[in-house]
Symmetry: C2
Subunit: 213 residues, 2 copies
Amino acid sequence: MYKKEISKAVINRLPRYYRYLGDLLEKDVVRISSKELSEKMKVTASQIRQDLNNFGGFGQQGYGYNVEYLHAEIGKILGLDKKYSVIIIGAGNLGQALANYVDFERRGFFVRSIFDINPNLIGTKIRGIEVRDSEILEDYINNNQVDIAALTVPKTKAPQIAADMVKMGIKGIWNFAPTDLHLPKEVTVENVHLAESLMKLSYRLSVRETPKE
Amino acid sequence: MYKKEISKAVINRLPRYYRYLGDLLEKDVVRISSKELSEKMKVTASQIRQDLNNFGGFGQQGYGYNVEYLHAEIGKILGLDKKYSVIIIGAGNLGQALANYVDFERRGFFVRSIFDINPNLIGTKIRGIEVRDSEILEDYINNNQVDIAALTVPKTKAPQIAADMVKMGIKGIWNFAPTDLHLPKEVTVENVHLAESLMKLSYRLSVRETPKE
């Protein structure tokens, strides 16, 4: 299907379209021209038309885009028409932040369980979701559908835990540990490297401070 | 200086080089060839040589790279030879996670204060860092050096808070709110959009599930 042909650059922009269209939906906007969307998103109108043409267009000459329809279609492309069972490995602040983020649920990502090795955390609940002992992780995965494991553990532990989970059958990992996971090709890993984001910020700040010569 | 000429793609790769070299340093590795670095990083050796040639090379024929020197030089390019005073706006789980992340300090980012409007949080401390009333934010910024404000507040509030902080003189914003901030050009904004990262993961998972036709 068409999904196979889309460039990575377009895919990287799709979540942003989806977010803007979601904001418009919340404001009960029914339709929008590529020109208006372009002004909001600070992207050229021709870029928008080009991107959306990858999926057969969606726009109508003289009418613009139907917000609800376009939002739903992009959602389908992003796989948001499905439900995902998520587990979180690591019940520290970051793991708790993810568990508390109700917006994820609205998009079909349901946190089913949190795992940790800390006896003080095991048995507690975060937004009603139980923190379980990492010891029973394999048992849990064998008995429950898990689509995505969010990994919020220290970088020294992440590679081993990820490798173990892959053996248990996990196919999708959302990795927050500041290390790259080298896993089999059939596993999908999406990294959030916070320290690297911060370095990009400091780079841009320091370039600005450097006087031009 | 050379900083002006470097492509964005190279800049985006630098934090990763910095991270790998830091890991090697921790393991007391003194030097590494581009071939070895290439195998570790899963990037071609020629890509590595090309990237590092942007900064005058650093490598010596037949010797490879001096890990400590290269780490320090890339650190300088990234602005990591300076210290940054950071404040966090929003003392929720995510703000607390950032405040607790000691690794940032090792790289020169010091969290000086956290601000929130919640009376239950004001006056508490996170890793010794006081949570202050957002009411006194302007006063604080007027009397203290602040290089970076991390914004971990709801998306409905983020644009106004960011605009206010810019008026108070803030030049660097690390934005975690799921919204784009449209601020004057002299302000540097680095976004971490978690929901968009999750959507990229679901896209890649759903493409894999789709049978090829």
